[in-house]
Amino acid sequence: MILERKDILGIKELSKDEILLILDTADSFIEISTREIKKVPTLRGKTVINLFYEASTRTRTSFEIAGKRLSADTINISASTSSVVKGETLLDTARNLEAMNPDVIVIRHSAAGAPHMLAGMVKQSIINAGDGAHEHPTQALLDMMTIRAKKGRLENMKVAIVGDIAHSRVARSNIHGLKKMGAQVTVAGPATMIPRDIEQMGVYVCSSLDEAIKEADVIMMLRIQIERQHQNIFPSLREYAQRFCLSKKNIPLAKKDVLVMHPGPINRGVEISPDIADGPYSVILDQVTNGVAVRMALLYLLTGGKA
């Protein structure tokens, strides 16, 4: 099977079969990263540009390693400010990059829809590495890969996503993906962090951590961005932690074999207590490992690879 699309812009556009194809391909790539010589010649002569308009350590490094393990030439461009501030438009940047004939452009941007705009302008494959509060498809794919690897399936899994859903692209991509794969999704957070009409995405909404994680197979905790306190979406980190910190106290409400996930970077003691982050339920570092495999799979499939 081949992936018949030019770009990966979001999970919303992917079919269940396409998600399975990507996850299966990623599973087959996981072994490469465990070898003594962690490199295969698959993408030799291909060029991957990582165009990051927003700070990122994990995702950018993960894409870079993924490209390098497949022998692609990877180039990182970090634009510290948005295109508007910088003076060159995204359109011009894109056209310049296009003129250098890369094969794949990976883009992260603080503005929702920026990858879609880019995809319409250039002939190269675009991978969305996170656009505003819209989508972060590779994160959702690596999350689904991790759940499937640990639980054997995604169907009927009870997944709780907890935190600032309104500003989270991770939440949106995971909701799209998990719903397509037959999981049940509950989102939780203070009402100020729940975006309008999100029930229409097919999720349960609740405002208590205990209710959300009850009998859960998977708990995804989202990072709380401290600067958002100024927008009055929560009164203080102290109060947020008292209501929504996943800890030894509340984790027994979930299933005994619950998986605790976090897209990182974590705020220890705010949304997740250190003993949980480092404890037996946590698969946070498996997520990071699987992230490389998922990104290898996407680079491979988008450049015409067959699964």
């Binding site: 359109l91 941007h109 929702a112 829809g113 705009m117 819209h134 975006p195 309008r196 009409d197 229409q200």
Partner: protein, 429 residues
Amino acid sequence: MNWLIKEARIIDPSQHIDDRMDILIEDGKIVKLGRNLSPSRKKGQAGMELAGLVVAPGLVDMHTHLREPGFEYKETIQTGSEAACAGGFTSIACMPNTNPVNDTRSVTEFILRKAAETNLVRVYPIAAITMQSQGKALAEFWDLKEAGAIALSDDGKPVMDSAVMRRALEYADSLDLPVISHCEDTSLSSGGAMNEGFASTELGLPGIPGIAEDIMVARDLLLAEYTRSAIHIAHVSTAGSVRLIREAKNRGIKVTAETAPHYFTLTDDDLRTYNVNAKVYPPMRGSTDVEAIKEGLRDGTIDAIASDHAPHALTDKEVEFEYAASGMIGLETSLALGLGLVATGILTLSQLIDKMSTRPAMILRIPGGSLRPGSPADLTIIDLERSWKVDDEAIRSRSKNTPFLGRDLTGKAVMTMKGGVVTYDELHN
């Protein structure tokens, strides 16, 4: 110019006329309406057979942005006037958010001078309520009126300070100057890029809740009631605003309101592709709002349809959605989109002409909107059957930012006449 127009379907809401008749025009004025009129003995009179076409009083667009002075790369009074003629408009009112802002006599006079040089359409400057539309100090309303301004608005920005708005309403009312309010509570809307709802949630774009409009409409209605002055609400986009205005009218508050064609034609779902040409303030709302707008038009709560023609150059638009300028052009598509309401039975043709000509002229207290003998011969000749496509190349506005690009529309102004002079003509070209 002298004309005898024969056999047209004449629609004049000001005289409750919808009938097959002739019109006699002499020296740029309407002389007579009636059946089987004979040519007068005036020299140079031309006959025009218009069987099958509609003749209406020239359309009046009470809400446009002509961008001059200051943003001539987006539009000029010349190009905006050309677009107006092609859209069937003979009179247009232009908002003051130019650079400099039209908050002083010299800017008003500049606009009128440019419009006189262009001489295609009657241009009526709307002056700012507050200096630089900053919402603090009142502009010199009397002086602006003397210079030719016909109304006041800080359009694009709301007057957030209720005390300033109160004083503006009182002062303007004493001068018989209409105040047009852009209703938006910026504390609720700030940073938003589209309507807040399911679409914004899925798209991850910051939302502007409908209540940002409703709250300010409610405030302005209360202020108008208390000060016993008149107020006109610009670009109504929400079900809440329609309800509030309807209630206010029932209670006798002197309120009038307009909406724009996109608010009864599109919803926030039309932004699913991050189409920057569909980005507009106030934003396109949900389908219940669209239904309420249509009902408001039908039952008369909404008096007028105005384009809110807001040209932006490609460079303002071809950026990330959140950074893209807001607004869309509308002069050349308003009539056809309005005719969509007639086709779906929401308005009669006469009601549509009322909302696009007679009523806006009355609200702004300007000439036009009528075919009464003695009125200037401002006419729009409409072919209800004409199918056409909104085409980039054919748009006369300097900017092409419309979400209707490529759309097939039905109904078009095929000739526009101002004071008996043809300003646009598809019939004889």
